[in-house]
Symmetry: C2
Subunit: 306 residues, 2 copies
């Protein structure tokens, strides 16, 4: 199985409104209440691809309980650790034209004892894992080097790690040597301001990442590894909801890591799955027939590494 | 005690964001999670004025439980009836400049048996009540003449009712003869399109309301009763959050009804309390010192009735 870690586990509430009137009260319909957070989205996509995925992270309160119950109903394996404070809620408002506005709470206040329990649970779960995905923000109280600690534990168990983080959590995590860092262009610019995407990716490799994949939205993906550099460009997809497209790419990349597929194949699958996720209404979902079609249509070109 | 009825009982979640970027994901802080709905706001204001207030309505699920727990913590008396479906959540996003955007879920699906239990509970609670406040929207499944049914039960117990509703719930409710209808100018225009405020209020009286008070936002209140017509104008209040200002006015009006104060006094108190509520960050709260100051500054003028 693939173990996904969502330290800032969430209850995602998706609302639909024909058109939001900002600065008024809007009557909305509830599209869904689901477990959320980037690692959960990755696990959902892996499950839909027929892979076993286990979700761990820190879950608390009524919102955490509601999100955990939904995980189970969706066929995902809930291995979250309970915390006393309440898990965050993320509100996602989708308008009829597909535009999305989100409101994201900061997350529960995590104690040192709770963090220690997460580390112990993570260690136990590695026994059955083939790969690990670490993604998303850190809730208050979790140490800033949380991802570095988890990468060190996975390395001791000889398991590959995909890291998807930003800012301080990324900077500290990458120093622990994850096999793959998958981020978007904005997050890369936060790490290596002003650099072009290949130079930024090279700086991440120099900082400790084995390989780097950068998503550039509809323009596709850039990959930089020790063996080469590629750009994967999907066909244009119209409309849709880009939330979770990066998580779909992460799911394809970790699956390719487990299968040891060639890099051009991994990037092609990731670009196609990411584009197919844009067509689906909620993060963590993708359009299976669009994925099958798009896989044949992504163009992967080798690039000259910087 | 004063019995307030909130059929569409809610969990109000208030977020603060420096400035919302529409169509992006916004990190927000959680200002509060409180019981909500117009009747709850009225009860909160009555409690702060030193009056006993009891809250009834239909509450369900994890959101209903969280809202009920907060009621108790706030010193209000929870006499809600449990329903199977989950109570709605209302999201209120307050920006640094005081601008407010709300997202309001439709509410739980209420069964006929649940509605019958609400009627029975309402009947029991009237034994200790001096007046009744019926306010806000109806959740799905509750009959459109819900307020008419409740007004008939209160009338049989010889208790005065303040009704604050709109659209069909207002039209059907007013026909049952509530002692006072309190609505805002937009709601009045929905009932009597195109009429000026005094003519619209007269039409509501003709339809069954004993007296009518219409709030016109910062411009103050208009009152029309069998004994006269008045306009109450508060001093200008800068900034603030207008959500709940109408509920503060309703609280003052029902208190005046219980005390049998003269109408100019009731309108003056209601205009002052409404203005003092605008200065407070959350619906159901008001600034006590602003209220004391504003009470002396409201100008009430008798008008020629239409």
């Amino acid at each position: 199985m693939i173990l996904t870690v969502t330290l800032n586990f969430a209850l995602d509430v998706t609302y639909a409104a024909p058109r939001v009137r900002w600065r008024y009260t809007n009557r909305v319909s509830v599209v869904g209440r689901r477990a959320g957070g980037k690692g959960v989205n990755v696990a959902r996509v892996l499950h839909a691809l027929g892979r076993d995925a286990v979700v761990t992270g820190l879950a608390g309160g009524a919102t955490g309980a509601a999100a955990r119950a939904e995980l189970e109903r969706s066929g995902l394996i809930d291995a979250t650790v309970s915390v006393r404070d309440q898990s965050r809620v993320t509100i996602i408002v989708v308008e009829r034209d597909g535009e999305v506005t989100g409101f994201s709470e900061p997350g529960p206040e995590v104690t040192a004892a709770e963090w220690a329990r997460l580390l112990a649970r993570f260690h136990e779960l590695l026994g059955a894992a083939e790969a690990v995905v670490l993604s998303g923000s850190l809730p208050p109280g979790v140490p800033l080097d949380a991802y570095a600690q988890l990468i060190a534990i996975a390395a001791a168990a000889d398991l590959p790690v995909l890291l998807d983080a930003e800012q301080e959590a990324l900077a500290r995590g990458v120093a622990a040597g994850p096999q793959l860092v998958k981020i978007n262009a904005g997050e890369l610019d936060g790490f290596a301001p002003g650099l072009d995407v290949f130079s930024g990716a090279a700086r991440l490799r120099a900082a400790g990442a084995g390989a780097v994949v950068v998503s550039e939205g509809p323009a596709g993906l850039v990959g930089l590894t020790e063996s080469g550099a590629w750009r994967a460009v999907p066909p244009r997809v119209s409309g849709g909801n880009p939330t979770g497209a990066g998580d779909a790419a992460a799911a394809a990349l970790v699956a390719g890591m487990v299968d040891a597929s060639p890099w051009p194949q991994r990037l092609s699958d990731a670009a196609a799955l990411s584009a197919a996720a844009v067509s689906a209404p909620m993060a963590g979902s993708f359009d299976q027939s669009a994925y099958r079609r798009l896989r044949g249509e992504v163009i992967v070109r080798e690039q000259t590494p910087p």
